[in-house]
């Protein structure tokens, strides 16, 4: 991270929620900008070019999807959705439209900070040279140059599709990947609805790489949304 404090724009209409997020952000060394409505949020994003946007889905003037679409018209700032129970559909819509991750209320400060860190790191990595070897937990090592996967010292043989799926997850490590994004990136745009393919290959990956596939540590299911590869156990 650079010397200047990263700026986070909080778009949230409830004051207490804004306060909690602002306090958590400043306590962790971020600069917080605030907006009460969607249009205000878009305006702030234009004016201040924040490093990250925290976007509540229950805004009074626009829905989250509209805000994400407006932001994505002109920039790639990481967007983390804040959703409540019962907003599952609009959450997935916003993610499919380009939001990077989400948090479900109520969430803790630690969770918030972890998500922000991952999103900022991912945005930075997209600009830099991609890493060649990625570790997942202590056990799994993916060598992206030699296209090899190791579990401990042992090489794990993956099929082409399994490997492709793994690399897409690795590229977005720590972030949620919606079913649609995964299907499009692994199988191509024509396969966005063949969700059972994805389920089967995810299961195969888990059985090859997780100790207890029924209680995965890394290849996590985000029910109704997609998958998340957790790189730190």
């Amino acid at each position: 991270m650079s010397e200047t404090k990263p700026t986070v724009l909080v778009v949230e209409d409830e004051e207490q929620m804004r306060k909690f997020v602002r306090l958590s952000l400043t306590a962790n060394g971020y600069r917080a900008l605030e907006a009460k409505t969607g249009s205000e949020g878009v305006a702030q994003a234009v004016a201040h070019t924040p490093d990250l946007v925290l976007l509540d889905l229950g805004l009074p003037d626009m829905n989250g999807l509209q805000v994400v679409e407006k932001l994505r018209e002109w920039n790639t700032v990481p967007v983390i959705i804040i959703s409540a129970r019962g907003q599952e559909e609009s959450k997935v819509e916003a993610l499919d439209a380009g939001a990077d991750d989400y948090l479900t209320k109520p969430f803790g400060a630690a969770e918030l900070m972890a998500r922000i860190r991952v999103a900022l790191r991912h945005a930075a990595r997209a600009r830099d040279v991609p890493s060649t070897v990625v570790n997942i937990g202590d056990e799994i090592r993916v060598d992206l140059v030699r296209r090899l996967v190791f579990l401990g010292e042992e090489e794990v043989h993956l099929t082409q599709t399994q490997y492709k799926l793994l690399t897409v997850l690795v590229k977005h490590a720590g972030m949620v990947m919606t079913h649609r994004h995964l299907l499009e990136q692994v199988w191509g745009p024509g396969h966005a609805h063949q969700m059972q393919y994805l389920r089967v290959y995810m299961t195969q990956l888990r059985h090859k790489l997780e100790k207890d596939p029924a209680r995965p540590l890394y290849f996590l299911t985000e029910t109704g949304v997609g998958y998340r590869l957790k790189v730190e156990a």
Binding site: R85, G86, E88, P106, R147, L148, V149, H157, L158, T159, Q160, T161, Q162, Y163, Q194, M195, Q196, Y197, R199, V200, Y201, M202, T203, R206, H207, D212, P213, A214, R215, P216, L220, T221, E222, T223, G224
Partner: protein
């Protein structure tokens, strides 16, 4: 029925007399004269039985004439030599007429009996059909069918008061060719509804109307209006038909009233239950929400107030307590929200082919904190087929079952999850080593607000009800029984998709990346 078959009947009657005369002529001379009269009278009986009253009278007259002409001296002449024969003629004619009369009465009786039987049968059929029906529309359809059958060719329509306005009628059932829009006969129907008397065609009131319109009454009050549109073949003119119609109207009226009353009772019961539910919910919720709220308020104010504890351990403990109670509040609110959505029928089951291993994994992941310190084992066969389910909802079922297990079993006791394919279903078991579920609770445990153990840490008593709601919405079953060796096992079973759907075909690949 066949009494109107005029001319052929008379001709046949004459023919029968001719035949009996011929037979008598053949045996004439070898038998007594009285036997001849008997043979002729037999002819009259045959005519009376087969061709009715008129022809039999003709046959009686013809028989006497034939007797005179062929069998009384002088033969081949109407002249009578012996005046005693005049008496024979008179008696013979009289006997023939009496036979005709008696036969007619027997025939009339038989016909009446047949008619009564037909009517009873149709009434029986109607009452049997409408008695079994539970809603208005099929009842009216059945009633209309019976009316059409019995009064061949008649067309039927029913009108009932509108829901919002008891005085305004609307057509709720109509055969083709009955009412047309803005029909003047609808005015007649209104008149019938208001006055509760028949009107229209065939009655004294407004007889120029196309339809005969009858009020349908139950034991209590008017319920509907029946409109009959007579056709060429069914004029609804005779007294019997009218009487039968009245009986029909009474039966249909009672059946309709029964259904309407049942609907009303159901509605009232539902309103009462909703009211009871709301009250129970309110009292239960306010109680269950108050406790954690009190703890949060107490703990945080202790930290804020002057003279707050300074030592880090106490402060941390207070914060920890407030945090735990806030999480408990969150769970309570979540269950309440789910329950209201279930109750309101707003729960959308968004089924996809899902892997149970993932759903279980996700539930365990979300329960991670609360399952800490317990030995949790999940046994899911690798070849378990995908199941069509709403992952978010089934995950909630698992979470509720796991939450229950953590609440009601000793800390640190193990929990086992097992999934298996069985008879076209996938069954998931969540087994604990707690105190188990008593026989009395086995049936009631899934009921709303029912709590097997009233104790600290319990919820509102909705968790299992939500589970049942979700599983039922998937077409599945949920139940609980005792675990061999102690503890309880909650099972739920979901139907498997049909063959082929569950196992997606995948392209085969070699295990060589790149």
């Amino acid at each position: 029925m066949n009494r109107e078959r005029a001319l052929p009947g008379y001709l046949a009657g004459a023919a029968v007399v001719g035949a009996s005369t011929l037979m008598a002529w053949i045996v004439f001379g070898r038998v007594e004269l009285t036997d001849v009269t008997m043979l002729l009278l037999l002819g009259v009986v045959v005519v009376a039985m087969r061709f009715g009253y008129g022809p039999s009278l003709l046959a009686a007259a013809l028989s006497v004439v034939a007797f005179d002409f062929f069998f009384v001296r002088p033969y081949w002449s109407f002249a009578v030599s012996d005046p005693r024969h005049i008496v024979t003629f008179a008696v013979m004619f009289l006997v023939a007429v009496v036979i005709s009369h008696l036969t007619k009465r027997i025939r009339d009786h038989a016909e009446h009996a047949r008619e009564r039987e037909r009517r009873t049968a149709s009434l029986y059929a109607l009452s049997r059909d409408v008695g079994a029906l539970q809603s208005t529309k099929p009842l009216l359809e059945a009633a209309a069918r019976h009316v059409r059958e019995v009064f061949g060719g008649v067309k039927v329509a029913f009108l009932m008061p509108r829901h919002d306005d008891r005085d305004a009628l609307e057509v709720v059932y109509a055969d083709d060719g009955t009412f047309i829009a803005n029909d003047t006969d609808l005015g007649v129907a209104d008149w019938v509804w208001v006055n509760e008397r028949s009107a229209g065609a065939g009655t004294a009131t407004l007889p120029t109307s196309r339809a005969m319109i009858l009020p349908l009454k139950g034991a209590g009050a008017r319920v509907a209006v029946l409109a009959l549109f007579p056709s060429e073949s069914a004029m609804l003119g005779t007294a019997e038909e009218r009487q039968l119609l009245e009986t029909f109207a009474g039966l249909i009226g009672s059946a309709l009233e029964r259904i309407l009353l049942a609907d009303e009772a159901r509605g009232a019961r539902l309103r009462m239950e909703t009211e009871q539910l709301r009250n129970a919910l309110l009292s239960s919720v306010s109680h269950d929400l108050k406790t954690p709220l009190a703890v949060v308020t107490g703990a945080t104010s202790a930290l804020l107030e002057e003279g707050a504890p300074k030592d880090e351990v106490t402060r941390r403990e207070l914060i920890q307590t407030a945090h735990e109670e806030a999480q408990r509040l969150n769970r309570l609110v979540r269950n309440l929200l789910d329950m209201t959505r279930l109750e309101a029928g707003a729960l959308k089951v968004n089924k996809n082919l899902e892997s149970l291993e993932e759903v279980v994994g996700s539930a365990l992941n979300r329960m991670e904190d609360r399952l800490r310190g317990r030995d949790v084992k999940a046994t899911i066969p690798v070849d378990l087929p995908l199941v069509a389910l709403d992952a978010a909802l089934v995950e909630q079922v698992l979470i509720n079952l796991l939450e229950n297990a953590t609440k009601y079993t000793p800390e640190g006791s193990p929990i086992d999850i097992e999934a298996k394919e069985k008879d076209g279903e996938v069954e998931v078991d969540v087994a604990d080593r707690g105190p188990g579920v008593s026989a009395a609770d086995v049936d009631r445990i899934f009921e709303k607000f029912y709590r097997a153990h009233e104790r600290e840490g319990g919820g509102v008593g909705l968790g299992l009800t939500i589970c049942r709601g979700v599983v039922t919405a998937h077409g599945g079953r949920i139940w609980v029984d005792a675990r061999p060796g102690g503890g309880a096992v909650f099972h739920f079973a979901l139907p498997l998709p049909s063959e082929g759907e569950a196992y997606p075909s995948l392209p085969t690949e070699s295990e060589h990346p790149g």
